[in-house]
Amino acid sequence: MKIAFTTNGTDWDARIDPRFGRTDYLLFYDEESKTMSSVDNREIINVEHGAGPRTAQKIFDNGAQVLITGNGPGGNAARILDQMELKIYVGAGGMTVREAYNAYLNNQLKQGVNNA
């Protein structure tokens, strides 16, 4: 399973950014190979409109099956993520990536509805 996190940094001690579209980084953890990769999303600060769909595209490009974030994506981003059959977990804003991953493993994170 490949897991995507919205974060403010690039390692296990980085914090989960509660924002989806305007998150500073996307962190990807591949559970099979136990490797981590990251995407610098900070250029999003220059995007006036449609930050959510752009960030969703990056999740798609990296092929994650699970997303762990804070508030959860907005409507436009959710419609895209829905097409990927991505499982979304919310409420991890402010946790470290390590804490959020453990919370996910212990079923302590709420599952977000993809499309309301």
Binding site: D17, P18, R19, F20, G21, R22, I45, N46, V47, E48, H49, G50, A51, G52, G70, N71, G72, G74, G75, A78, V90, G91, G93, K110, G112, A116
Partner: protein
């Protein structure tokens, strides 16, 4: 540090009057005016600018007349009729240009550039109260965006961290568009200010659909509640149904317009009536913050 966003869906419900009263009431707070299209918190807080920064957003096409070969392809394909020519010289009307970049793509002489436009300024200011205010000013024809709201909020967070403040109060814009989504993004609590009119309830419902999607806890103030008891009751039913905390009913009161006329906030012009009321309101909000 907790971030509280004040929104209303509908304009004119008294959102900024509430925001100004809270700026006066809440200790250790940074204010952020994200209603950049129609900013008016500054009328009451009377900011003195400490620092300012130019704000760039969006692109517009520009044709370099030196390298232009005069083929006219750009004028032909422009969907916004923004390009015209006079005695073989092609130029772009900046007001018509949408910055789509089609002309740049099609130009055989590579004569078209798309420079970013300076659309306004972003400020960090001292105010009459103990709080600092982060605000922005747009040029004529420029519009608010998720980008600008994100910028104002980022400055506010940095200012709060730098000065050790506990709260950020964000005055959001009406509607449910990109700027509102951006102001909700990353917030800890949403304060909804509504009024007992059908459009007040309708727009509250719309903005709540958006807030609920982000799973941010919310509380609601019904302003001018006594003007229409019937719709006030409908709003209360809606709040119960949706699990939104009902924080207070404010009566219709001439003090509101009086305060705005004097450039002051409610607890200042009539402390007896409003000071405790807003202190209690704030206490109600802090209880909702985890």
């Amino acid at each position: 540090m907790k971030e509280i966003v004040i929104i209303s869906g509908k304009g004119g419900t008294g959102k900024t009057s509430v925001a100004a009263a809270l700026a006066y009431t809440v200790p250790r707070v940074v204010m952020a005016d994200c209603d950049v299209d129609a900013a008016d918190l500054h009328l009451i807080l009377k900011p003195v600018v400490r620092s300012s920064e130019e704000f760039y957003s969006g692109v517009r096409a520009e044709i370099d007349t030196q390298s232009c070969v005069g083929c006219g392809k750009c004028e032909e394909i422009c969907r916004f009729a923004a390009i015209s020519h006079e005695s073989g010289k092609f130029s772009v009307d900046k007001l018509d240009c949408e910055g789509c970049g089609y002309c740049q793509l099609i130009c055989p002489a590579k004569a078209v550039s798309l420079p970013e436009q300076k659309v306004g300024q972003c400020f960090i200011s001292d105010t009459r109260f103990a709080c600092r205010l982060i605000h922005a000013k747009l040029g004529i024809g420029a519009d608010n965006s998720g980008k600008l709201v994100a910028k104002v909020k980022k400055e506010a967070r940095q200012e709060a961290t730098r000065t050790g403040m506990d709260y950020i109060l964000v005055d959001g814009s009406p509607g449910i568009g990109c700027p509102v989504i951006s102001s909700l993004s990353g917030a800890d609590f949403v304060l909804l200010v509504t009024e007992p009119t059908l459009s007040g309830l309708n727009d509250l419902n719309r903005v709540w659909q958006l807030t609920a999607r982000f799973r941010i806890p919310a509380g609601c103030i019904i302003n001018k509640a006594d003007l229409n008891p019937q719709v006030t009751a409908q709003i209360k039913d809606f709040l119960t149904q949706q699990g939104i905390r009902h924080l207070d009913d404010l009566p219709y009161d001439e003090d509101f317009s009086q305060a705005i006329t004097l450039g002051k906030c409610l607890p200042e012009i009539n402390p007896g009536k409003w000071k405790t009321r807003f202190a209690n309101l704030w206490q109600g909000i802090t209880k909702e913050l985890k």
